[in-house]
Symmetry: C2
Subunit: 353 residues, 2 copies
């Protein structure tokens, strides 16, 4: 089967570009103190997680407990949930899961630490903890050294918990396209993270891991050597949101759509917001990079004056945001050139619990 024979909308992954992106990340991190712990949220496929481990990743980052369960069941041995797990019934699941792999979770609250310790003790497992340090996202995490220290010390003295280090994620810099500004901001926050590390060490709390980073900041973080783990996710696929970024990574994930209606001033594709998440903007249209595109639920309206679209024509899109688009699909077709060679399951599609 060739790509244009797929029933659409369909997601395809170009295997050659996928291999190039894996290789490019390995090259970036070669010789650096930073190891790769790629983020599962961008692909949600255990198949891809295993290819990342084979290509040198130390373990996998994910956002949800359900994702961590899928990863562990597929044989991944070192998993970080870069998020807070608070509901009691979920902590029971977490403590059970920690029997099957090295499991790390983020915390920013003393009551949560008490719950984690109690339930890990009951399960007879050990849960590793990163305290989340807010370095500008204003989301989860604590922002002052003293509160951080109190939480870290509480973990350190709690049964069945291990204080592992600092989670410090600057999501607001991931898509910053001004290289100088981004570099300056990364440097500022790394100085603050190093100060925190020193503060903790002076109080006899050594920091084993500093975890964070993204596709947009990995190059600098690899050079600076402050972070020990890089949580980049999008680099394997890339997407339209990263189009302004000067990067070694290439678009490898595409959405195949079909022209279902033609007009003198526009043509209509069979892919809308239920097939291509619009949360970070519209997809790119491969053949017509300068066209205008708008989407409804199951339609995209394309205005490309230079083009006379043909009914039934196959049109490739670059998703606006790979992470949220992947979450709409049960499967991804693997392609080499124009050939469809296999398909993989989006194992954790919809695993938001």
């Amino acid at each position: 089967m060739i790509i244009s024979q797929l029933e659409t909308p369909a997601l395809i992954l170009d295997l050659d570009i996928f291999a190039e992106n894996l290789q490019a990340m390995d090259s970036l991190l070669k010789g650096s103190k930073a190891k790769l712990r790629p983020h599962y949220k961008s692909h949600k496929c255990t198949y891809i997680a295993h290819r990342q481990i084979e290509a040198g990743a130390k373990g996998i980052t994910c956002a949800k407990l359900g994702e961590a369960e899928d990863l562990a069941q597929s044989g991944i041995k070192d998993i970080l949930i870069a998020n807070q797990i608070v509901q009691k019934s979920k902590i029971v699941r977490l403590a059970q899961l920690a029997k099957t792999c090295k499991l790390t979770v983020c915390v920013d609250n003393a009551d949560n630490i008490a719950d984690l310790s109690r339930m890990a003790s009951e399960a007879g497992s050990v849960i590793y903890c990163l305290v989340e340090f807010d370095i500008g996202m204003k989301r989860c995490g604590v922002s002052d050294f003293e509160t951080f220290y109190r939480l870290a010390a509480k973990i350190d003295s709690a049964k069945n918990l291990v204080f592992e280090g600092i989670q410090a994620y600057a999501g607001h810099l991931s898509h910053e396209t001004d290289d100088l500004f981004r570099a300056a901001e990364v440097e500022k926050l790394e100085i603050r993270v190093l100060d925190l590390k020193k503060y903790l060490l002076e109080r006899k709390l050594p920091v084993r891991e500093i975890s964070g980073g993204s596709t947009g900041t990995v190059q600098q973080k690899a050079q600076n050597g402050v972070y020990t783990e890089i949580q980049a996710g999008s680099y394997i696929f890339m997407d339209q949101t990263y189009r302004g970024l000067d990067t070694v990574f290439k678009n490898g994930l595409f959405l195949v759509s079909t022209v279902i209606s033609t007009h003198p001033d526009r043509f209509i594709l069979d892919a809308g917001i239920k097939s291509c998440s619009p949360d970070q903007g519209m997809p790119g249209v491969m053949k017509y990079p300068d066209c205008e595109i708008a989407m409804n639920e199951e339609h995209a309206v394309v205005r490309a004056n230079s083009h006379n679209a043909v009914l039934g024509e196959s049109v490739l899109l670059v998703p606006g945001h790979c992470c949220s688009t992947i979450n709409l699909y049960d499967q991804i077709y693997l392609v080499r050139g124009k050939e469809v060679v296999d398909r993989i399951k989006v194992t954790s599609r919809g695993k938001n619990v």
Copy 2:
């Protein structure tokens, strides 16, 4: 189990409000020439489609062939795909499906009509066709009477096809909150549709169905009596996008989330854009209608100064857009008061092919 014991994020449907909305729609259409053909895209649950049929709907509207297949397999006998089906392999599926139910599809292209006729003939089935009339959306559909007539006549003379009437959907008016403006616009386009009907009748092509309409326009369409079918979808759930509309329908679909991090100036919920589609804006927060809310992939950041959130607290959200949010979930919990009484499958979640 009660609602606050659900692992979150979770979608719940209030059964009492669901019943009220079904009843309210039945009352609106009582005595009208217009019959209800509710849109499946808003719920994608065959369970709900059957409740709509029991409450008086003549059949179901859907957007995708995969949805139509799910509906037919669940026993729905009268299905309209309010969309163009163009890929050859899909038309083969369509022609097969037409053996199992009364199946109607939209068309706006002569080549497509030829394909539909040929494959219905080969399958030995009959496919009913609405020609799509563009009344202002500038998406699919033809906008002049003569082209419409030529397509309708081609269907009328084609083997194994039946010309059923006019699809005329004004999606751009669904959320119009200015009652007078909306009413004037609906009236204008209904006059144009009536003129088209007359034009076709003069050429010996009687129009059996005029199909379209939405939750935002159903009341007026029921009174005017021009449309024979109303494709309203959101009325059973409602959502935050409809908040400005003066309507008899009530919010019955909610997203249960949990506070996973607390701060003096904000609290963080475990529901982001992968749990609550942002395509038509942010969700409403039930307890704090005037708060500010922003979302990342798996987080919502809420600023509600009046409120001191407690870690683990359960917070109900009204989805920004019910149709796209439903498409992120495999199941909906049914609740009565605070009790969870059952759960249903989102049968056609992700059925975009």
